[in-house]
Amino acid sequence: MAGAAHRTEERRLTRRARVVRATLIGVSLAFLGLLLAAPLGAVLAQALAKGWAAYTESFSDPDTRAAIRLTLLTAAIVVPVNTVFGICASWAIAKFEFKGKSLLITLIDLPFAVSPVIAGLVFVLLFGSQGWFGPWLQERDIQVIFAVPGIVLATLFITFPYVARELIPLMQQQGSDEEEAAITLGASAWVTFLRVTLPKIRWGLLYGIILCNARAMGEFGAVSVVSGHIRGLTTTMPLQVEILYNEYNFVAAFAVASLLAVLAILTLVLKTLVEWRAGRGGA
């Protein structure tokens, strides 16, 4: 009898556990559905609201094409520069012990903590017509703010930590024994990096580059402050989305937005693949 009572007790408990489980999963999915799936679906639905022809037609607008080109150009400059920086910073930080290291790491992370609007604002204060270097630049007829260089600078600032912050913990955890062995055996610095370090960090590096690229192409706030929104000249894709949206040209706005959404989904897919490879292939 006691055994039977115990068994019903357990069954009751597991049933309750099952209810809790179903409720929590349900709440999670509902929350994510409202917050993530609905907006994403809205982008695609709005972009295709007037059919496929209207959708593709949106991309024949010369201003939109110029915006796509500018976004690609910005990413093509920013991503390599910040990749080189990230590798340098993580080499210095992970392979050597020196004073002020934790301060350096904090400073590298700083752009993550700062509002995008501030990132744009500081470059206006430096290079704008009333800024520190404004008069000097004006004399030489160089325009930084409301021009492409300002957009590149603001994007560099925003995406500054991405590669470094992926590589620093990875390289710190891997240690330097193998590099020290290579150097001691007579390999040059460059060969040591290419043949010993790079294969060990490649997945982390790729991960950082993917995230850096996604942010570089999608940055809105910082770029919006320095761009001046000159159509066809200083509008990136996110700014073009804003312009079209504010003109109530919803199909075109969401068409450009859908490209950025596809980029985001692609980023997530690549990120998942890289995590999966890093997990089984050993970093």
């Binding site: 929590l24 999670s28 609905a38 210095a92 004073k99 609007v117 500081v122 430096l126 520190w132 001691t184």
Partner: protein, 280 residues
């Protein structure tokens, strides 16, 4: 360098890489931020306080901080539930859901902004239904909160997930065997263990929410005194070439970022101490 600035190492490239790192960091990040501080320090105290305590600015702080705080609270609750479901339960599509959590990181803020504005506008999918219940989200402060919930979600989930993996299951089993109810197990064992991570996620989401611009400006309606966030006020001042006003507000936001950074470090240090104490 005889004072031991760095420990000796056989590896090459220290001077080159550290030199490049500090140069690039100074030129790209520190110098521009210094420009902001200097621009603000050129103001007199009265000018500075006048900009800071201006009625419209005060209204924008209330909205910015209030909405960011509310959004972080909502994320702490729902983000915890999501993290729990992902760590403890197996259900079809779990891996897909896990990957999708990072969408707000990857999706450009302007895109999430116009998407949310469309979904929640009075004739949008959700806006229509909420309008029946007399709730308006788009173009009110509620819209700002919704946008910030979206932006902050991954911070909480990604902070809490590893902490939940670490919770000692044998402790939970022991408590259950000793007669603790599931709720007691959760409150006494799981929650304390996950608390530092939850607080870290909360603070990260809050900090991000304060500075957020792109996803908010489309759904907020941007009415002065009502639905205008502080970053937007900075942009407006810049558009009017009021560089002093923009710099002063920017400076305050920068100070807030440092305070938040400091708070995050404190929370993380506290979490490490607790973990070390629990390990003994």
């Amino acid at each position: 360098m005889a004072g031991g600035f760095r420990k000796p190492s056989v590896l090459p490239g220290f001077g080159l890489t550290l030199g490049f790192t500090t140069f690039f960091l100074s030129a790209l990040v520190l110098l521009p931020l210094a420009a902001l501080v200097f621009k603000t320090s050129a103001l007199t105290w009265t000018e500075f306080l006048e900009i800071l305590l201006d009625e419209r600015a005060m209204a924008s702080y209330r909205l910015t901080f209030g909405a960011a705080f509310l959004a972080a609270i909502v994320n702490a609750v729902f983000g915890f539930i999501v993290a729990w479901s992902l760590v403890r339960y197996d259900f079809p599509g779990r891996r897909l859901v896990d990957a999708v959590i990072d969408l707000p990181f990857a999706l450009p803020t302007a895109v999430s902004g116009i998407a949310l504005a469309t979904v929640f506008s009075p004739n949008g999918w959700l806006g229509q239904k909420l309008a029946l219940a007399n709730i308006q989200v788009a173009y009110t402060w509620v819209g700002v909160v919704v946008a910030l919930i979206l932006i902050g979600l991954p911070f909480v989930v990604r902070s809490v997930q590893p902490a939940l993996v670490e919770v000692q299951r044998d402790l939970e089993d022991a408590a259950e065997t000793l007669g603790a109810s599931p709720w007691q197990v959760f409150r006494r064992i799981v929650l304390p263990a996950a608390m530092p991570a939850l607080l870290t996620g909360f603070t990260l989401a809050f900090a991000r929410g304060i500075g957020e611009y792109g996803s908010v400006v489309f759904i907020s309606g941007n009415l002065p005194y009502q639905t205008e966030i502080t970053p937007l006020l900075i942009v407006i001042k810049l558009e009017q070439y009021d560089y002093n006003g923009a710099a002063a507000l920017g400076f305050i936001m920068l100070v807030m970022s440092f305070v938040m950074l400091f708070a995050i470090n404190l929370v993380q240090a506290w979490g490490r101490r607790r973990q070390a104490a629990a390990g003994r």
